[in-house]
Structure formats: C-alpha cells, structure tokens
C-alpha cells in the first residue's frame, strides 16, 4: 500500500509546474512546445490504445476523429465565439470538439458489431477517407485550403489538464466492469458473449470514449499548430499514432505514456540528422518489433496506475476472511 499518495502529489506538482514554466520562462519556448506535443500525443496514444490494445481491434481512423475535433473547435474559436471571450471559452471548444468526434465514433462503432480484425481496419480507413473528402468539399470551412489564423490558445496548463483527465478517465474505464468486457473481446469475443458480456454496449463505449479523446487532442492540436487543413489529418498522422501505441506497448496506459513521450522526443532529438531520421526511426521500430514484439510495456502496467482494489483484491479478501474466522472462533462473552 506504501507510497500510493505519491502519484496524486506528482500530478499536483506537474500542474503547478505547467503554470510556472511559461510564466517564468523556466525552459526555452521550443522545449515548451515539445512538451505540449508530448501531452497531445499521450492523449492520442492512450485513446487509440483502448481500441487497438485493450480491445484488440485495428483502427486506422484515429486521425479522422482528431480532425473532427480540430475542425469543430477551430470553427468555434475563429468564427462563433466572440474574440474577447475565446480564451475563456477555449475549454468549451475543446470539449465540444471531443463531443463531435464522439458522435462520429458512435457511427463507426456500429460496423464493429459485425466486422472485426482486418475488415474493421478497412472500414476505419474508409472512414478516414470519407472525413477527408467531406472536409475538402465543404467550401464554407475552407475546403482543401483549411482554416488559417487560429489563435494559439493551447498552452501548457490546458495541455497538462486534458492529458491528465484523458489518462485518468481511460484508466478508470479500463478498470471497470465494461473495461474488463473490452479485454474479454480481445481475448475471445465468442466466449465473451457467452459469459454474458454485452459486447455491443462495450464496443460502443470504447469507440465513443476513444474518439472523444481523439477529438479533444485534435482541438488542442489545432490551437497550437494555428492552421489546419484536411492534409494534416491523413493516413500518415494515423500511422504516427499507431507507431506510438505499438512502440509503447499494447494494453498498457503506462506504455502509451512512454511510447508517446519517447517517440515525440526522439523525433525532435534526431532533427539534426534531417532526412536520415526517417530512416533511423523505422529501423528502430523494426528492431523493437523483432526483440520486443509487444512494445516497451506490452500488457504490463505501473503498479501506481492499477486501482488498489484490483491490485490487492486477493490480499484484502484473505485478510477479511481471516478476520471473520477469528471472530467466529472467538468465545462468546
């Protein structure tokens, strides 16, 4: 049980730092920007891991959900909300972006009832293409030119806040009745159905939650990039997220955090290599897949992330039983 208070304390310190760093310029702005991207990528990776890692499906459409969130939030803050208020209404745009993406996620979840594996992957590719061409063909939202001049509203505190919320909620979901249902679908969907799990409900929840946070990440992304167009959210973006998921390890929150951080930072560190980093990175991935096919943290979790109820289930139960036996054995006074 020791040191379980440490994680909340670290999160608290992180939150204070996220305010202090930009305020007093503790580190240079370029590093601050990298930190923001790390946060956004953690949200993307953790949410995709829910589908690809925990549920064992293969979704390639994450950039599609991201773009829905990015466009909704960008449109709200550039066109709808009054300019004096946009800084205050920023969280609202982000949440609405997430909700919009979640609604689309609901639609994409329905084919997953009947289709799985490779075929579902193709459905998600199709979805990605549909979203891209829909956006390209609506002139009112900029068509292929996209939306320029978005205010830079994504800062370190907001990124930190949304990252913590995303990780916390997804972790909560995974360690719940429905989360266990998601895991059982990965292990054996037919057995899962036959053990009374409502696989449809569980799939809907997983897709909606995953796409919600993809939308949130997209909204944050739009307000740091300050310009979005359909081309930003193509299959290469999806592939980037997939790489972070499989690098960090499937079915692991810790893995998603590690994977997103390592990948984002490594790409920046290797920047001096210029084009060669796109040779080196894939090579690193190939080696990783050979020597650690499940990624850095595949199917393993930091103990801190596991609720103590689950972590100590057997010990608590045994202790309770012993107490009961003792009280049963105690002589009546």
């Amino acid at each position: 049980m020791a040191k379980r208070w440490l994680l909340p304390v670290l999160v608290g310190i992180g939150f204070v730092l996220s305010f202090a760093i930009p305020q007093f310029n503790l580190i240079n702005p370029y590093y601050q920007l990298i930190l923001i991207y790390v946060g956004i990528n953690i949200i993307l990776t953790t949410s995709l891991n829910l589908i690809n890692g925990y549920m064992g499906e293969f979704s390639v459409g994450h950039a599609g959900f991201m773009s829905v969130g990015a466009y909704i939030a960008a449109l709200l803050s550039t066109r709808i909300f009054p300019i004096e208020l946009i800084a205050w209404l920023f969280p609202v745009s982000v949440l609405l972006g997430g909700l919009g993406a979640a609604l689309i996620g609901l639609v994409v979840a329905i084919p997953s009832f009947k289709t799985r594996g490779d075929y579902l992957a193709i459905v998600t590719i199709a979805f990605l293409m549909i979203v891209k061409s829909v956006i390209e063909n609506i002139e009112a939202i900029g068509g292929p030119r996209g939306i320029p001049g978005i205010y830079k509203l994504t800062n370190l505190p907001w990124t930190f806040f949304f990252t913590v919320v995303a990780v916390w909620v997804i972790r909560n979901f995974v360690y719940s009745n429905f989360g266990r249902g998601v895991l059982s679908i990965r292990e054996d969907e037919i057995a899962s159905d036959l053990m009374s799990v409502n696989t449809r409900t569980v799939k809907l929840q997983a897709f909606v939650l995953s796409s919600f946070f993809a939308g949130v990440a997209g909204a944050l992304f739009a307000h740091v990039l300050q310009f979005i167009s359909p081309r930003v959210f193509d299959i290469v973006k999806s592939t980037d997220i997939l790489i972070m998921v499989y690098l960090g390890g499937i079915g692991s929150i810790a893995g998603s955090i590690v994977g997103a951080t390592v990948y984002t930072v490594l790409l920046e560190v290797l920047r001096p290599l210029q084009v060669w980093r796109f040779v080196l990175m894939p090579l690193v991935l190939v080696l990783l897949m050979i020597y650690r096919p499940r990624g850095i943290m595949g199917l393993r979790e930091f103990r801190w992330f596991i609720p103590s109820r689950d972590l100590f289930a057997r010990q608590n139960w045994q202790a309770k039983r012993e107490r009961k036996e003792v009280s049963d054995a105690a002589p009546a006074s």
């Binding site: 159905d193 036959l194 939650l209 057997r314």
Partner: protein
C-alpha cells in the same frame, strides 16, 4: 413445464444438415448426456441453445422464453452457461478477471460511473471481487487469483472454466467434453466433481462426452446423435445395448 424444451430443431450449414429434428424436454434438476461420434452435431446443439448459431428451423424455449434469434449474452443472462470443448479462457487475463468478467450482468452501474469511478461503482466492484473470490475458493482456485490464466496447468484451466461459467449464475449448465484429455483416475474425480457442483448450485446439466465411463456413470438419460439425427434415446443401460448405437460407433456387422 420443462426447464428447456427443444422442438424439431434443425440447422443447416449451407447445404449440409448439421442437426436435424432435434427434440429435448429437460426437467429441472436432470443430468442428461449427449453422445455420438465425431461430427455428429453435438457441439452444434450447444451452439444452437446458447445462440452462437440461429436455428434454421424449430423452436427452443428456456423457462418459457423463446431463445431462437436472441443474442448469446442475453441467453447467458437468462441462466444458461457453458464450457467449451477446447478450453476458451481469457488467456492473457488473471484468474480473478476471468471470473469477474462472467459476473458482467450482476454489476449495476452505468458508463458515467465507470469513467469517473463515482456513484455505486465502489460498492458494486467490492461486491464482485468478494463474490468472485468466494467462488474461486469454492473451486479451490483462490491461491491462483492473480495468476495469468494461460499459465495454469490443464486440469485447473478446466476447473476455472467451470468456475467462470458458474459466475454467470446459471440454472442450466452445458458441459462440452469436460473429460477431454483426462486419464481414468482424473475422470473418476471429475465425476464426483460434477455430481458435487450439481448439488451445491442446484443445477440442471447437459453433458457432451466421448468417455463412456463418465457418461454411463453419471447421466440419468442419454441422447445419441449421428450425422445430425437422433438415433437413440433412453437410459444408459438401454443405450449400451442398442444395435443402432453400436453400429454408429463401431461400424456395421460388429459383434459385441
């Protein structure tokens, strides 16, 4: 009224008739065996009852509810649980999680509670851990609760599969070749075990099995399938001497 009633159930895979005209009236508390050579359609009968396949023709009623066309999770929710011929545990998950997953319908909280761990989440989760651990203790598996289920030895995996099925609170238990891969000594223990859970949980059981010793030893009534058709039905002693059954199992013109 019978607990489970199958009337003229017929199922085709494409043009192949896997089960034809299957009838069964199962009273509460009975232990019925289904036997037959490989490919006779025994497991298909289980798949039809549990909703994995939808019967092409015929009707299946459980406790007065029509099962044909219902989704498997709902059928299990009504109180029909099963095990599998080739063990189908959730391999990468812990023994405790295997049992807790089967407790799915017993947990009464919604999505919102699961996202934020609020509301009656804590109470329900504590309860399901208690229930699952108690069940594991009944099956003498409590010490393995944290073990990844694929790491258990074969015999314990079989036992865990039954424990997991029991976590769905069934009235009817379908056992698909529970003795597969067991030696005569283990089969003897399994017979006692099946009798014991039947009494302990007040169960009705249908058993598919190849091991004649097991079937003849504990089943009260037998049905024999061959190429999807029911070729004999009755008490174990009657079946043992039925010429049609001998022919299906051993081939034509065999003297026993």
């Amino acid at each position: 009224m019978p607990l489970l009633q199958a009337k003229n159930v017929t199922h085709y895979f494409g043009g192949l008739c896997a089960v034809s005209d299957f009838n069964l009236d199962l009273e509460k508390g009975e232990l019925v065996g289904i036997i037959g050579p490989n490919g006779a359609g025994k497991t298909t009968v289980f798949n039809l009852i549990t909703g994995v396949y939808k019967a092409t023709e015929g009707d299946i009623q459980f406790d007065g509810t029509r099962l044909v066309g219902m989704r498997p999770n709902r059928i299990t929710g009504l109180g029909i649980a099963r095990t599998f011929q080739n063990i189908r545990l959730f391999q990468e998950l812990s023994v405790l999680d295997n049992v807790r997953i089967a407790n799915y319908t017993q947990l009464k909280y919604g999505s919102f509670s699961s996202f934020f761990h609020v509301g009656n989440f804590t109470r329900e989760e504590d309860r399901t851990i208690q229930e699952a651990m108690d069940l594991l203790a009944v099956f003498k598996l409590e010490d393995y609760a944290e073990e990844t289920s694929k790491n258990l030895p074969y015999g314990l995996q079989r036992r865990l599969e039954i424990a997991r099925a029991m976590a769905t609170h069934p009235k009817l238990l379908l056992l698909d070749e529970p003795a597969a891969g067991m030696n005569p000594n283990e089969i003897g223990l399994l017979m006692e075990f099946i009798q014991w859970i039947r009494k302990q949980f007040d169960l009705t059981i249908i058993l598919i099995e190849h091991q004649m010793r097991l079937v003849m030893g504990i089943c009260e009534r037998l049905k024999v399938l061959d190429f999807g058709a029911t070729i004999a039905e009755g008490l174990p002693v009657e079946i043992q001497n039925n010429p049609q059954v001998l022919e299906a199992y051993l081939g034509e013109g065999v003297e026993v």
